[in-house]
């Protein structure tokens, strides 16, 4: 057409339908963007960014041992982020995974060290798992109950319950459960008979991993194919419509909080009985300062996975790799503060990518006469 000139103005437009290809492409792009953004910092400190990144990659994904390390780190993330994805799908802002993990860990430790059931048999491990799961479940369910029946905001309730769990753990470690021999707030090591089995030569406590993968698949199917999943999705998309359709909000909130609490509790058991083999402060996190509790890391993992348990599982593996890479930076002698900046940048840009993937760039055309 005569007189139509294309101007190179662009604008953002909401994408009508999501597409997997775009999602993956944007994730890769934002990852690259994070690396590029961190390069000047590393250069200023006198490191060659390319060397640093290849070192990080090697440590996280290069070879069997590296992948095993990453996978070990991914186990709690997979479990907790699956639960977080479920709650976010229902738009229930459960950020209490930290507390739920701690309660699971405490319950498991109690069975292994302080309960009358210490017979070193398989039943004891089963009991640790069951009680840990129940502890996490209860911790989540109480928050759900308070939110629904008393009307306290879910975010505040779960945050407060995190604080309660942390303080309870602190009390146990400084008080009755303190290792008598040394001054540090650790419990005695768990007897080896109560450890979760691992794949030989690695630290992968596979029962938890299998449980994690199974629950991810199960949750995915529930959301897609089951009545409960439909109820959760309707509840999350539109609470007014859920009420109108006769879906009980109490039921949905209690079920969702119980499931995500149970998964977090299981993750807590896994950390104590599979990895650390003793209860200590920070048991619900990777131990290093730069990565907060897995309970919080899993929240952004759930978003990265677009509240889809499968997506969250993949994102867990990726983020576990990033965390491992961060540890290797520490080994290289880069200060903790810098490592925090780099990891923060990576997570921030990945999150930004999730937001951008909902939009597309449209070239604005205008008619000029």
């Amino acid at each position: 057409m005569l007189g139509v000139k294309e101007k190179f103005g662009v604008r953002l437009e909401k994408r009508p339908a999501p597409s997997l290809r775009v999602d993956i492409g944007i994730s890769i792009l934002s990852f690259v963007a994070a690396l590029v953004a961190c390069s000047p910092i590393l250069s200023l400190l006198g490191y060659n960014p390319i060397d640093v990144y290849s070192e990080m990659f090697k440590d996280a994904f290069g070879g069997f041992a590296a992948i095993a390390r990453t996978l070990t780190k991914a186990i709690p993330l997979i479990l907790v982020s699956a639960g977080a994805a479920l709650s976010f799908k229902a738009k229930i802002w459960n950020i209490g995974a930290q507390g739920q993990m701690i309660m699971g860990a405490i319950a498991a430790t109690w069975v292994a060290l302080f309960s009358p059931f210490q017979n070193g048999s398989g039943e004891q491990i089963a009991l640790m798992l069951v009680l840990g799961i129940l502890a996490g479940l209860a911790w989540g369910a109480i928050c759900g109950f308070i939110n629904e029946k008393i009307g306290v905001n879910m975010v505040i309730t779960t945050l407060m319950f995190n604080a309660i769990a942390i303080k309870f753990l602190e009390y146990l470690l400084h008080g009755p459960w303190k290792m008598p021999a040394i001054k540090y707030p650790y419990t005695d090591p768990l007897p080896a008979s109560s450890w979760l089995p691992v794949i030989s030569d690695t630290t992968i406590h596979y029962p938890t991993l299998i449980a994690g993968i199974a629950s991810v698949i199960l949750l995915y199917l529930v959301l897609k194919r089951y009545k409960l999943g439909y109820e959760i999705r309707v509840f999350g998309e539109n609470r007014a419509a859920a009420k109108y359709a006769g879906i009980s909000s109490f039921k949905v909130i209690m079920i969702v909080m119980s499931i995500s609490g149970a998964l977090a509790g299981l993750a807590g058991v896994g950390e104590v009985a599979g990895l650390h083999h003793q209860l200590k402060m920070g048991v619900e996190g990777s131990g290093a300062v730069y990565a907060a509790s897995y309970g919080y890391v899993a929240l952004y993992i759930a978003w990265l996975g677009k509240c889809n348990p499968l997506g969250a599982a993949f994102a867990s593996f990726l983020i576990a790799g990033v965390l491992i890479g961060g540890e290797s930076l520490l080994v290289m002698g880069i200060q903790m503060a810098v490592v925090s900046v780099i990891l923060g940048m990576a997570l921030l840009l990945l999150m930004a990518g999730v937001y951008l993937s909902e939009y597309k760039i449209v070239r604005r055309r205008s008619v000029e006469k």
Partner: protein, 646 residues
């Protein structure tokens, strides 16, 4: 007092195009003048001179920031006889401040202030270019697309001084989009807008207000707990302290002029819908607008309120306001407008003088096919009693008795209508019957079973289905697919699901069947509901709620906001249900529809029924009186006729 903004005295400068200007506006009632200072590009002008000039002129700053796009409105009235003048700004300032000059009017005498001439050495010119244009608004080739739809496709629209121009179209035809572009809420993709002959770029409602364009929204933008005056002050330009006292005074003057008696100290929630609309209109006029956009203004009014409004619209037109009237109601177009533009699916179909248009022609342009205006209602004998409501009392959201002792019955093969002004307790009554709101006292029974305060699901299982009022809030889940929306009511029971899992195969088959049976226009059953038009969403809801042969269907405002074609479809679905033996409780604000559809008609006012009548024996005005609170007996006594009860 002459309220018109006389456009013959409206003068703008002619000069090289520049966006930086000072725009002076007279309040309504005075001739006005726009002065534009040509900038030399100096920041001094933007940052100091323009604000100072505005201050000296007792101007009210409407500018967001002092900067590149600074807009200030003030008062420089001009004598009506004067056509055009060229003066220097400092001279203009002096004149404006001089109370003795009879053709320059000043709100209050000001102290004489001196201004640095050097800073304002640029000459200002006035011309009467604006006067040469017959149109106050011209929109040319406006195009706007949203993801997946072209809402406006090269639409031309214009508005003359002193006319009411109706913008007619179905929902989703693009009328509101077009007006939101004019009001600065949306940005056009293509096209040009001229206001009073000058090309403008309206970036926000702020810009629109500065140009004298005001919009009376469908949903009033008011703060419930604040007083009328506070609400008006809230929308007055920033840069002042909260001017409630001043506003009160002006508000009383203005409302007196319109013959409206609204207490500026009344709280918004104490007002009726009509009064709230009047406040909204006064607010827009108070802002100094003389181009008024009304977005479906009659949807909240009683018949009396509607005819009042029509009267005022005509009066305002005669006083020189230019009015755009957005509607999908044909009768209103014919009654009120001078010209009408018909839009269909984002395109302009027709523009015609209303005097040359007929209802049938308008309808066919609007819908794209012939439309019948009468439904064929078969004579059926009503059957057994389905719903029995006994002295029901329900509390509203604020804890007031929204439904205060209501009793009625509904029978098989009967459409039982409920008429009333919005907010008379209909919402609470329906929600109580659907199990969504607690019943305070009294009870209701379905087929003799007491279901008072039962859960929504228990009530559904007794065969009560419900088409909700807030279609897009609780009726559908906009972010989910058509097929998922179709099972919202029945997903939990066979044949839609087995013990735990949903039967997607059956659900898909069933969805295909329903959308073809109910003529839901959707690209596929996987389409996200938000992409469907209002009419199709309603048909989707009806497909879900009525395909199970309900004992009782509660249909709340089922035709609200729908176009003529969809209205007909919905009405036929309801009539068919009636013939197949369902009881139907129909709530609507459209009295014509109610009187045509209902076998019996109840009228509610203030939470009480003012009567249950046979609509064929009543006049529309009589029902209007009952809607306003007059008991049926009194209405009939006035007529000397016996009341009919079902």
């Amino acid at each position: 007092m002459d309220t018109r903004w006389a456009d013959s005295e409206y003068i703008v400068y002619t000069s090289t195009a520049t966006r930086t200007h000072v725009l002076f506006q007279a309040p309504e009632g005075q001739p006005r003048l726009v002065v534009k200072i040509l900038p030399t590009g100096s920041a001094f002008i933007h940052l100091v001179a323009a604000p100072v000039a505005a201050f000296l002129l007792r101007a009210r700053s409407t500018g967001r920031t002092f900067g590149v796009h600074h807009t200030t409105s003030g008062v420089v009235p001009l004598h009506p006889a004067q056509k055009s003048i060229t003066i220097k700004l400092d001279h203009a300032l002096k004149l404006a401040q001089d109370p003795n000059k009879k053709y320059f009017y000043n709100n209050s005498p000001t102290k004489k202030r001196t201004m640095s001439k050097a800073s304002l050495k640029n000459a200002i010119k006035f011309s009467d270019k604006a006067r040469s244009s017959e149109f106050v608004v011209q929109m040319k080739g406006i195009t706007k697309s949203f993801p997946g739809v072209v809402a406006n496709d090269h639409i031309d629209f214009d508005l003359k001084r002193g006319e009411i121009h109706a913008l007619l179209g179905e929902n989703g035809a693009g009328k509101t989009t077009l007006m939101k572009i004019l009001y600065g809420l949306y940005q056009k993709d293509e096209g040009e807008i001229y206001v009073r002959g000058e090309k403008v770029n309206i970036k926000s409602p702020h810009d629109a207000k500065a140009l004298g364009i005001g919009m009376v929204h469908q949903m009033f933008e008011q703060v419930y707990k604040h007083s009328v005056a506070e609400n008006i002050a809230l929308f007055s330009p920033p840069g002042q302290l909260f001017p409630v006292e001043k506003v009160k005074q002006r508000f009383v003057e203005l409302s007196k002029k319109f013959g409206w008696d609204i207490d500026p100290d009344a709280k918004i929630w104490q007002l009726s819908a009509e009064e709230r609309q009047r406040v909204e209109i006064l607010k827009v006029i108070y802002q100094g607008s003389n181009i008024l956009i009304f977005d479906e203004p009659t949807s909240v009014l009683t018949p009396q309120g509607k005819s009042e409004l029509m009267k005022w619209l005509k009066k305002m037109r005669d006083e020189g306001y230019a009015i755009i009237f957005i509607t999908h109601k044909l009768d209103e177009v014919l009654e009120i407008s001078d010209r009408v533009t018909v839009l269909r699916k984002g395109k302009k179909i027709k523009e015609i003088a209303t005097s040359k248009a007929t209802k049938e022609a308008l309808a066919s342009w609007m819908v794209g096919r012939e439309v019948l205006f009468k439904v064929k209602k078969k004579v059926v004998r009503k059957g057994k009693r389905v719903l029995e409501v006994k002295d029901l009392q329900v509390l509203g959201d604020r804890g007031e008795k929204a439904v205060n002792g209501v009793s009625f019955d509904i029978y098989e093969k009967e459409i039982f209508g409920l008429a009333g002004v919005g907010g008379s307790g209909q919402k609470e009554l329906i929600e109580a019957l659907a199990g969504l709101r607690k019943v305070e006292s009294g009870k209701f029974l379905i087929d003799g079973i007491d279901l008072t305060n039962a859960s929504p699901r228990e009530i559904t299982e007794k065969g009560v289905f419900y088409v909700p009022e807030d279609r897009e809030i609780s009726g559908v889940i906009l972010t989910m697919s058509v097929k998922e929306n179709l099972i919202l009511r029945d997903y939990y029971r066979p044949p839609y699901s087995r013990k735990f899992a949903l039967d997607w195969k059956f659900i898909k088959q069933d969805a295909h069947k329903k959308i073809s049976q109910y003529k839901v226009a959707t690209p596929s059953i996987e389409t996200i509901a938000s992409l469907l038009s209002g009419g199709n969403l309603q048909k989707l809801i009806l497909a879900r709620e009525t395909s199970g042969k309900p004992r009782l269907l509660i249909a709340a405002y089922p035709t609200r906001g729908l176009d003529v074609g969809s209205v007909e479809d919905v009405q036929n679905i309801l009539l068919q249900l009636r013939e197949t033996g369902s009881a139907i409780f129909l709530i609507s604000e459209d009295l014509d529809t109610l009187m045509m559809m209902s076998d019996r008609l109840a009228v509610i006012c203030g939470g009480r029924l003012t009567g249950i009548v046979d609509p064929t024996e009543m006049k529309k005005e009589e029902i209007g009186l009952m809607m306003a609170g007059t008991m049926c007996e009194e209405v009939l006594r006035a007529r000397g006729k016996r009341k009919i009860r079902g």
